[in-house]
Point group: C3
Chain length 472, copies 3
């Protein structure tokens, strides 16, 4: 294998090669020369870093003699001269100024053009900057790269969220040349394919949690609603009807009612779309028709819904564990000791099961959270991932719902205040529906149909193609 | 450097090149045509996705005019015509049907064949599907790819556990062509080497936590045993001898006895094989002989043993923290208040040390768990990883064992019921043995011998090669 | 695209190719032959693994007939014969012995030389081993690889922290040949660029948490200081002035004073350098001058400072939650019940807010910790990462500081013992300063100046270039 590779290496060492150094010696010439177009912030930051990493840098500028302070050691030339001196040109100029590059087409012929530009917002232009550039100068190898880094990282080298340089372009060798530079600057270069990926790379630095928005809106909305509900039911009611000032309960007691309720509802919202999709496929008798848009979007943010729910579950756990501290540290006024302390094995079973279900549910939930860490889910096969997220996921839903039912126990449907049921009852609606629907899907006859549909079977009214083999 | 690369780019632009477009322009032709063999579920899912990503798709079929519904925009042809129209052919057919491909060898000559197939179970065939294919059509470039994705991901694009397309094959350029398609479909392509890796890739989607099985069996077995033990000792004993019904204690109190015991035993099981290996090497006087199979397999699942132990330790922590809540929330019948509340500094030291050891041990344990996340351990050098997993690991074992000894304190060997010692004493056997063995290995003279053996020194009976330099 | 790639594949199949097998058949020859120079530990471990993975191995040795035990199946020859028999040579010899290789230059011409060597400490030589080797044998393709693996992994294949083989070298095809071998041995090969990265790769296995040192020293120093402080104030004072023996409080109560204090101080230390950098840039009126060295180094370990602080915060949380257990489990002597149990809504608000701030602060802190996991921060765009680490980071600082102020409440500046203020007051100095400085930077006029400076604007005394466009 290696011998074959070597043959193609040795092939490259031939007289007509325009290589700067004979590959036979395989010794990199020190101080390769790179060119930067643009003496603005971006150009200067990048130039400083390149110089610092052992490259020589020449700037192309409209006014090479008055282009302001350049990094020490860099040289300014006219665009033409600069382009001719180096085989790799960084473009640190705004897209609006790309037009003048057309006049440089002869000088840029065969050069690697690295487009570092970003736009101020998404979809300003129909075409990616890099694609526009490639159209203007068809003879050059345009590579989109470095645009996802912060200015700080461009100037100072990799830092936490800036270790990776994504690049794309149509010429494999051109991309490799840029990747070498990125590696030498300390970054890890990741090839994202042909220049058609440029649009995506240009949108990347502008994004701010696009797939987290819906889940966070839902979380905020639910939290606000439940909070108002429990404040009315617990604080306002007590104040109006009994003249008691319970307002201090907002900080811990009521928070600890809001968090588990929101968590359980969002956990159901995370698993509901999968069940709905199953019913839609059953109804349609095929899996090849697209789901309605709302369902598609819902399914794409399941992970985020689940992680937000996990966050609320975590807060619920800590708020619960903090309860006895308030008691112990001299605040017995929190607790009205008019409880019946009659020993009762049933009650003991119930309350201990209640705690156990909560803990085990939270433990499983945490496991789901850990397996959705990118590095962990990448290490899992699809079968393993779906085992955890589906099988263990429904177990989590069941534990948490059961935990809440045990909390209610015999107080169910009894303790209304101003016709408002206790808040925890609100949280039980969705998970109960979810569990019933899931159980329906697990019925053997339903499950069989669904499995066939998911393997490609289609229900046809004419009944002729219904037993088609899956692979032909 | 880049200039050299460019030279080989420009070389590619020559008249005899069969390139579809001149690289000099570096503009990707829109709407590349790809071919799919097989109109079953897999073929249709993949075709739908390819069409959606901007490719043109042509299907090869035995009955091009009656092959059932195809994705909108796709065309069906005979296998021969389809193969000739595209340079990249996806094979979405079962291995049993590969034979007919031999007749297409002339049309497939020089094409890239992407083998997407999977088998129903491991080791059905002695040879990987892709290798069999390569043998049948030696003139084609077979690339194994996309088989690790779920059908859902093939149809709808990347989702959580389906971001990476593993590929392998013998032709580097063929692999790159497939990688480009994968990237354009939104996946990250990962090269796994030559076609001999196909077997591994075909086994990957079938695996279901192979390396977790043994640890999970051990955990389940231990949990069951300890659970029965404490139920007999605490519940059945009380019922038989004192007529008390303690059964409610199962849910929290007994669970909280089982979890720490299983956790401590499994933590020791995680470090024991390393110590045993050390003694075997000392005994044999060389590190070049393979360990017995059982030890090899044991060593390979140390990480999983440790993580399961961490899960149990986490449950132990939460169950412990829940104890006072039961007391505070009106359930004082849990606690028999016949304790001696005489203040005693020694007791206070002991019980506070007991808590502290437990917390610090758990904190260290958590640190071990975090460093075994793939992305974290990849970022560590081998020296750093072994520092954490070995040095801090033994510290964790020590803290947790000491925590358990402090729990016992002066009750040791005193409170037998039906001749059964308290359950926590069972958990102390293995970690105590482990710590003693480790201390033996740390004795200067033993440590020196072991270090030399691990650096390649071999004890020979003839004594002649004993002082060989490590590198010659 | 793929057609173009194929053209260059087919080009390689030409008569003058010295390929071992015609690429047209794309069938890898079984049992490729590799050569290893050096029969020491490293050479034997590696050879064993290569043989086990299906390669044939030949050793090059000065004394081929008396070079000691070799792995079964390997052959020993003279260096010359061994080098000529294979196209890929692993060098498992110490750098000191490289000199003799010069005499082998004719045999090694055009071969791939894999330098596996490591040094005993950093900066022993001015030049990397691999670069020295390339200089000695300019006609060979030197690739640095495998040196970051442990000897165990080299012999037994990948394990947890040894999955990745970093390689660098000047010949792309040579690197690919080595990457193929690495893949076949079960490792993932990662290209780190040209041979100038060899120095970095050779330093990697020697590093032991270089960027964690400063934060850990700070943590240890702070912990020691605060510990002594609270021991004097709480234990020694009580002993001397009141004759009480409080020493048992060290294990839990005092630990739980030390941890939150150290955590809060280190959290401030994590955000302080960013604020200082802002003021320096404002003062200088430019971002292009380098920060003082101490600030640079401080900024580079912010992540580590924060993670250590998170560890202490975690311990604080668990130690706090353990408090009521001590009370419940029969140890009421811990608590002096001379507290005023008068119900007071203000006190209740204060203490519940105190708990809530602490929990929310810890929850946010945990979120910061999770987003600094490598796999998570790699998935974030720069804008998202800086939103979390900066916006949510300062919110965390605020919550935690407010939590501490609420802890103090009206005891502020009152309870001195031996003129020593309570320890928590010490922890408030830095975060308070940090918050004030940050608020100053957020003043609209200051913020505007700083933003302009960070976009590349420079304050010049001559005032001529002050309104330069950012990109030209």
């Amino acid at each position: 294998m290696s011998a074959d590779k070597l043959s193609s290496v040795s092939k490259e060492v031939k007289p007509e090669s325009m290589s700067l150094y004979p590959l036979g010696t395989a010794a990199a010439p020190e101080q390769e020369l790179l060119c930067i177009f643009g003496t603005g912030d971006l150009g200067r930051s990048l130039g400083q870093r390149l110089l610092h990493s052992g490259y020589r840098v020449v700037y192309g500028s409209r006014r090479p003699h008055s282009c302001g302070p350049l990094p020490q050691g860099a040289q300014a030339m006219s665009h033409e001269a600069a382009a001719q001196s180096a085989s790799l040109v960084f473009l640190c100029i705004h897209r609006e100024h790309y037009d003048f590059l057309e006049t440089l087409a002869p000088q840029l012929q065969g050069k690697v053009l690295v487009d570092v530009s970003n736009n101020l917002k998404k979809n300003l232009y129909p075409e990616a900057n890099a694609e526009c550039l490639q159209r203007l100068i068809p003879g050059a190898y345009v590579v989109k790269a470095f645009n996802t880094l912060s200015a700080w990282a461009l100037q100072n080298g990799p830092s936490d969220a800036n270790r990776q340089v994504y690049l794309c372009g149509n010429g494999a060798e051109a991309k490799q040349a840029v990747a070498e530079v990125a590696t030498k600057l300390g970054f890890a270069a990741l090839d994202r394919g042909s220049l058609s990926a440029a649009k995506e790379l240009e949108d990347f630095p502008l994004q701010l949690f696009p797939e987290w928005r819906m889940p966070l809106y839902v979380a905020v909305g639910l939290t606000a609603f439940i909070f108002v509900y429990v404040v009315i039911r617990d604080v306002v009611y007590a104040y109006v009807e009994q003249g008691e000032d319970n307002s201090f309960r907002i900080m811990v007691s009521l928070a600890n009612k809001v968090f588990p309720i929101v968590s359980l509802i969002m956990l159901s919202l995370c698993y509901l779309p999968g069940v709905i999709a199953g019913f839609i496929q059953l109804y349609r008798g095929t899996k090849y028709r697209r789901f309605p848009d709302w369902l598609d979007r819902w399914m794409l943010c399941r992970k985020q819904l689940g992680l937000v729910a996990l966050g609320f579950a975590f807060l619920h756990m800590v708020y619960t564990l903090i309860i006895p501290i308030r008691y112990v540290t001299g605040a017995p006024y929190y607790f009205k000791n008019n409880r019946t302390s009659v020993f009762d094995t049933t009650t003991a079973w119930r309350s201990d099961s209640y705690y156990s279900m909560g803990i085990l549910g939270f433990g499983l939930f945490l496991l789901l959270g850990i397996t959705s860490l990118p590095s962990v889910s990448n290490a899992l096969s699809w079968r393993e991932f779906s085992f955890i997220q589906s099988k263990l996921g429904y177990l989590t839903v069941f534990f948490c719902t059961f935990h809440t039912y045990l909390y209610g126990w015999d107080k169910f449907l009894r303790t209304y205040k101003w016709y408002m049921p206790p808040a925890y009852m609100l949280s039980l609606v969705l998970p109960s529906v979810l569990i019933v629907l899931k159980l329906l899907l697990l019925l053997p006859c339903v499950d069989r149909s669904l499995t066939r549909i998911r393997q490609g079977w289609e229900r046809t009214d004419t009944q002729d193609g219904s037993e088609k083999p899956l692979l032909t």
